[in-house]
């Protein structure tokens, strides 16, 4: 457990001090601020536009950080041969993978908190009030990104960092659409298509189930009990992905 903590802290320090991360966050803040301009040309919908656009920017830049940092997390250790130092000590592969994941989760928490704080300030300026729903929406985006980090770490143990990044983004996009695919296949009334859609629906994490962005702008009422169940499902998904990553990584030689 101490080893997991040490690896997590080390990963946090290493990733949070990376200049590239700082540059991405600056771009994210500029894009979030772009919501002010969109709000100004949207005739009385400034607050709504700010929230909507801001959450999309938070999701997009959160995804970029999650996928690209997670994809390089394991690869950098192998390519730069820092794994020699780690695994020549009594460090298990499980502690390594879990520590790396938790370290990046901590970094993501800081990144998300920074972007969210900036968005809250802008929404307060435009709307004149604080939105609790906005905070929940950011927390649920964070939950989705943790799944993507775990998925990307798993892919990075199988192939290159670029492939892991691409697959990580693909899973995020598919996760937003998987329930639509299932609904559409039911309309077609083709048993084979519906069965295939079920397989896709089970394998791909249903990220849209915890997406409350529409509720933030008043377009939807959130069924919180359902969101809770889906969060448990996403937690289990993370555990499975990390378990698979450990299984693959255990077989590797350096």
């Amino acid at each position: 457990m101490k080893q997991v903590g040490a690896i997590a802290l080390n990963t946090f320090k290493e990733t949070i001090r990376d200049r590239v991360l700082g540059i991405i966050v600056v771009f994210a803040l500029i894009m979030i601020a772009g919501g002010l301009w969109l709000g100004s040309i949207s005739l009385g919908e400034g607050g709504r536009m700010m929230k909507d656009f801001g959450l999309v920017a938070v999701t997009l830049f959160g995804l970029i950080v999650a996928v690209f940092v997670a994809a390089g997390l394991i690869h950098k250790e192998v390519e730069k041969r820092t794994v020699f130092v780690l695994f020549s000590k009594p460090v298990s592969r499980t502690a390594f993978i879990v520590g790396k994941f938790l370290g990046l989760c901590a970094t993501m928490a800081i990144v998300m908190a920074g972007m969210a704080a900036f968005l809250f300030v802008l929404v307060w300026i435009v709307d004149g009030g604080f939105s609790g729903m906005l905070l929940l929406a950011v927390l649920l985006i964070y939950a989705q990104l943790l799944v993507i980090i775990a998925v990307t770490i798993f892919f990075s143990t199988l192939g290159s960092a670029i492939l892991a990044s691409v697959l990580g983004i693909c899973v995020f996009v598919a996760g937003q659409l998987s329930h639509n695919v299932l609904s559409l296949s039911r309309l077609g009334q083709n048993a084979a298509t519906e069965a295939l859609s079920w397989v896709v629906y089970v394998i791909i994490p249903n990220l849209s189930a915890v997406d409350v962005k529409p509720a933030v702008v008043g377009e939807q009422v959130v069924a919180w009990s359902s969101v809770g169940v889906w969060l448990v499902y996403l937690g289990a998904y993370v555990v499975v992905c990390l378990g698979l990553a450990v299984a693959v990584f255990r077989r590797k030689e350096f």
């Binding site: 080893q3 040490a6 080390n10 290493e14 041969r81 820092t82 020549s88 009594p90 030689e253 350096f254």
Partner: protein, 245 residues
């Protein structure tokens, strides 16, 4: 041509018939790197592992550490686990955005060393490898020689019984080499066992009690330095003769 010194001390590390085959290229062609390595490293030895590039020295060390799995043969370590082993990899590279002090502390944490002991040990090791002034600098600002020295410090953070050093003198200037040699000598004085790879035979001559020469994945000679010197004028001559035979 393999010799045995008839050493009475118990072997701390015993490698027997170690073989390693790796698959390379698109067609997964098998290449045999180790073809039966036999080694005996005794307690308090300073053991030199010599051989041309690609002979299998690094692979042998990696297999001892469990970084690679042997295809055949055995490695017997006279220690409970890796917690009493220190290792410096060849051409070490560490975490760019950590300072030397943070990195050593991190390595200490991996061994579960108590915070107070760790702090004291990190300070002592930084002084020992001459990096006190650069302790709080990020590792990406370290020169190659400084990285080599911080690498040696991390290999000693757990006060190991057995220290494996893969090319510890590489990239060091004469002063740095002198310092590493002093560290190895001090380790021996403290009863530790050191195994290192090197191409610098004058250093091997100066430091080692026993040596093994590997060629083509097999140990072709093993014995004490005086035994080697009895057969040739210099260690260089002896090495060249063994490799050529």
């Amino acid at each position: 041509m393999t010799q045995n010194a008839g050493c009475v001390r118990p072997p701390l590390l015993e490698v027997a018939g170690l073989r390693k085959t790796v698959k390379v290229g698109f067609r997964r062609r098998p290449v045999e790197i180790l073809r039966g390595v036999d080694l005996e490293v005794h307690q308090n030895d300073v053991f030199g592992l010599l051989g041309p590039n690609g002979a299998g020295k690094t692979t042998t060390i990696k297999t001892v550490l469990g970084l690679m799995r042997p295809s055949a043969g055995s490695v017997r370590l006279g220690l409970p686990d890796l917690s009493r082993v220190g290792y410096l990899p060849e051409n070490p590279y560490f975490y760019d955005y950590l300072s030397g002090r943070e990195f050593l502390s991190f390595c200490g944490q991996l061994f579960g060393i108590d915070a107070n002991v760790r702090r004291e040990r990190v300070d002592r090791l930084l002084a020992e490898v001459g990096l006190e002034a650069a302790a709080d600098k990020h590792l990406r600002k370290y020169s190659k020689g400084m990285l080599q020295r911080i690498g040696i410090a991390q290999a000693l953070i757990n006060d190991p019984e057995l220290v494996l050093l893969d090319e510890p003198m590489t990239g060091l200037d004469p002063i740095g080499r002198r310092e590493v040699k002093v560290i190895i000598q001090r380790l021996q004085e403290r009863g530790k066992t050191v195994l290192f790879n090197s191409h610098i035979l004058s250093d091997v001559h100066e430091l080692c009690t026993r040596i093994a020469i590997i060629r083509g994945g097999t140990v072709v000679w093993q014995g004490t330095v005086p035994e080697a010197m009895a057969e040739a004028a210099t260690l260089d001559d002896f090495f060249m003769r063994v490799i050529a035979s």
